[in-house]
Each structure stands twice: as structure tokens, then as C-alpha cells.
């Protein structure tokens, strides 16, 4: 007997089929509303000796550093006071080094700036940060 590879089977009851088959007038606006999506991104921050922490980026700029002015404060060795910033621009997240002493590494490469992609690994001082994003439908 062949292995059943079905992922999903929808099989409504007969009285529901009639209701489903009725033509519905769908406005263009309603369709576009359904299509609109955005990118939800978060950082997963791994610091030595601590449990990983997740922080949502919320389509806003986020500064990262040791100092109190940073939105994401990492009071760790080798992190500068204002180390880097993650900007939200043109519907993308871009990391930029702010002239830090030890640099901002992206997947092991020291960068001045770079557009972020899913699962990129950022190294800031002793912190390892994973960028993750997903596309979600706008409500």
C-alpha cells in the first residue's frame, strides 16, 4: 500500500457546499486589503551566561550600545557606548556601525552597513544577535 502523502483534506458537509458555492461580490479594496503585508522582525540576543532574549523591532530605528541612550542596551565587554543602529528604511532593516571600536560583524564580516536578511548573525562585542523576520498580513 502506498504511503499517504496528503497534507490536508477539506471535505465540507453537503449542506455547507451549497453555501460555499454562492458567488460572493468581492470588492477590489477587499482583495487588496487581504494582499497587504508587512515584515515583522525581531532580534534574538545571545549574551554569554544569560538566556537568549527576543526583542521586536516594530518598524522603527533601534540603537544598540552600552550607554543609556541606546534603545537596546548591552552592558557587555567590547560594546561601544553607541555601537550600531538598525534602521527601518524602504521597508527593509539595515544595520549600520556607528564608529564602534570593535566593529559590527555580519556573518563574520566587518561591515559599515548592510541590509539584513532572515537569520543573519550579527556580532556586537560579546553579544551574538540573530535577525529574524517574517511576512505577515496586515490586519
Amino acid at each position: 500500500m502506498e504511503k499517504d502523502e496528503t497534507l490536508l483534506r477539506i471535505n465540507p458537509l453537503p449542506e455547507e457546499v451549497e453555501e460555499l458555492s454562492k458567488t460572493r461580490a468581492i470588492s477590489r479594496e477587499a482583495v487588496l486589503e487581504d494582499l497587504a503585508e508587512t515584515r515583522m522582525a525581531h532580534l534574538e540576543i545571545h549574551c554569554p551566561g544569560l538566556s537568549p532574549v527576543s526583542v521586536a523591532l516594530e518598524e522603527r530605528d533601534a540603537t544598540i550600545g552600552r550607554g543609556p541612550d541606546s534603545r537596546i542596551q548591552l552592558q557587555l565587554p567590547n560594546v561601544s557606548r553607541m555601537h550600531a543602529i538598525i534602521r527601518y528604511q524602504a521597508e527593509e532593516y539595515v544595520i549600520e556601525d556607528l564608529g564602534s571600536t570593535n566593529g559590527t560583524l555580519l556573518n563574520g564580516v566587518r561591515v559599515q552597513r548592510c541590509v539584513l536578511r532572515n537569520h543573519d548573525q550579527i556580532q556586537i562585542g560579546d553579544a551574538r544577535i540573530i535577525f529574524a523576520e517574517e511576512r505577515v498580513r496586515l490586519e
Binding site: D97, G99, G108, V109, Q112, C114, R117
Partner: protein
């Protein structure tokens, strides 16, 4: 610019893909636009190649112009005039602005004058706007001297013969820092001796040119397996490129001109293999050039 980056060359990849643009989700990490690199050193603004990536660079520069009301002269150096290196030029917005000064440089070794080639791709059969209709203060120069100074940047170039129709490599020097752009060349044929002629001398020329580069941006379009089927197509295999970069004492190698068939997943796997084969074995740091990445050299 943050103070720590002042005096450095900022190198931004606007297009990293070889041969043809490859938009789509499978290439969004490393990029789908064809070659275009922007190098800034103060007011010296240098562009390498005008592949489709130059369109987004143009939007960025236009935005800068609108915000600051000035844009320093732009110097566009072409490696050669194959489609993937010039096709974005008609969509380069600064070329349509009368306040922009744009100089385009290329090899003097071609049968047709560089201006005629660029004019050809904007012929009415191919594009609605003629080259002569561009509003920018445009000049097209076939390079004569093998070096020129643009601000504090020394620009040097050399012909590369191992690409159909030829190509040019460039080296930028500021103080003791060097950035080399050497794409569209088949180094495998120099290494295995199949190019004929004086392979040894050509290889020595190459090694001297890229020697001790802080950043080498170079054509590594094929894996070794792919190269076996594509010998003579004018591109280098990744293992040959990495070993020559190592030999020449290159500090950082950005493998560039990604094959259109190389998805992000494949490039990530290749990188993993490379790391497994010898993680940080040599002095050269190897990585894949990626659209939207800026490095400070």
C-alpha cells in the same frame, strides 16, 4: 559618516549578480542585480560598472542631491560593455539631471569607440531616450594613461585578455589601502596553462596587481564542477580565485559576479563547504559579495 570611518574608502555593493539580473525570493540575500559598485572617499565618488544595480544607486544619489543640493562629480569606470555591465545606465537617474557631472571611462582597446557602444544600447530600437538627450554634463573617455588621480584616490587599470572581447581591472589606492575590482576574467586558463601564449607572465601581472589588496572584488562565478563544463566562457572558478587571492596576500576577498543559477541557499552551502575545508586557514578572509553591503577600507 562616523568619525572612525573618516579617511576610509566606503565600498557599497549595488549589484553582485553575473550575466543577467535574477530577481526573486531565492536571490534576495546575495542580490539579483547585475554588477555595480560604489566607492566613496570624501568627495571622490567612483562607480564600477553600470549593471542593473546602478538604478538603485541612482535613486540614492538623487536623494542625496535633493537633500544636500550638491553632488560631487561621478566617475563611472566600466570593466567592459557586455550587457550585464552597462544595461542599467539608461535607468541611472542622475544622468537625467543637468547639475550632475558624469564621466564614463573604459578600455581604449575596442574596435568601436566606447561612446558608440553606449549610444548603441540607447538606439530608438532598444530604448526611448537617446544618449545625446541625457541632461547631465556627460563625457565618455577611453583611458589613455594607466593611472589617474581623483582627489586622494589613485586609480590604476590593466587590460584582462581572458574574457570574450576583453575586460579591464581597476585598483584604487588611498594611502596604504587598496581596493581592487577585477571581474569577468578566466583565471583558470592562466593557472592550467590552457590560455596559450605567455600564461606565466599574465598570471604574474595579475598577482602583482592584486598583491596585498585590502579588498579584492573578483569574479568567482562557477564551482569547480561547473567550470569543467564552462571553460572558455570567460569566468573564474571559486577554488582558483581563492587560492590566487591567498597567494597574493589579499586580506579580504569578496567573491562576486554570482552565477544566475546560484540561489541564496546554494551560496550559503558553498560558503559552509569552504569554511569546512579550511576555516580561517589562510590569511585571506573570503565571503560572498552581497547587495546592500557597505565595507569600510
Amino acid at each position: 559618516m562616523p568619525p572612525a570611518q573618516q579617511g576610509k574608502m566606503l565600498v557599497t555593493f549595488w549589484g553582485t549578480r553575473g550575466s543577467i539580473s535574477t530577481p526573486g525570493r531565492s536571490t534576495e540575500k546575495y542580490g539579483g542585480h547585475t554588477p555595480c559598485i560604489f566607492v566613496e572617499h570624501g568627495d571622490t565618488k567612483i562607480i564600477f560598472d553600470a549593471g542593473t544595480g546602478i538604478r538603485n544607486l541612482g535613486l540614492h544619489l538623487t536623494d542625496l542631491l535633493e537633500r544636500s543640493q550638491k553632488l560631487p562629480p561621478l566617475h563611472l569606470f566600466l570593466s567592459h560593455t557586455h550587457w550585464d555591465h552597462i544595461q542599467g545606465l539608461p535607468f541611472f537617474q542622475p544622468a537625467y539631471l543637468k547639475e550632475v557631472v558624469l564621466t564614463i571611462y573604459g578600455s581604449p582597446m575596442k574596435e568601436r569607440f566606447l561612446g558608440a557602444v553606449l549610444k548603441g544600447q540607447m538606439d530608438v530600437e532598444y530604448f526611448p531616450v537617446a544618449l545625446s538627450a541625457l541632461a547631465a554634463q556627460l563625457s565618455i573617455q577611453e583611458m589613455s594613461e594607466e593611472r589617474m588621480e581623483l582627489g586622494d584616490v589613485l586609480v590604476e587599470w590593466q587590460e584582462q585578455v581572458l574574457h570574450p572581447g576583453g575586460s579591464v581591472r581597476y585598483r584604487l589606492t588611498v594611502g596604504d589601502k587598496r581596493v581592487v575590482y577585477a571581474t569577468d576574467v578566466e583565471l583558470d586558463r592562466l593557472v592550467d596553462g590552457s590560455a596559450g601564449g605567455d600564461c606565466r607572465a599574465l598570471l604574474d601581472d595579475y598577482l602583482r596587481f592584486v598583491e596585498n589588496a585590502d579588498l579584492l572584488i573578483a569574479d568567482g562565478q562557477y564551482t569547480a564542477q561547473e567550470y569543467a563544463e564552462k571553460a572558455g566562457w570567460g569566468h573564474t572558478s571559486i577554488p582558483v580565485l581563492t587560492s590566487l587571492a591567498e597567494r597574493a596576500g589579499v586580506k579580504q576577498l569578496a567573491v562576486f559576479h554570482h552565477d544566475p543559477q546560484h540561489s541564496d541557499r546554494m551560496l550559503d552551502s558553498l560558503w559552509k563547504e569552504l569554511r569546512k575545508a579550511g576555516p580561517d586557514k589562510g590569511a585571506t578572509q573570503v565571503f560572498w559579495a552581497r547587495e546592500g553591503m557597505t565595507l569600510a577600507v
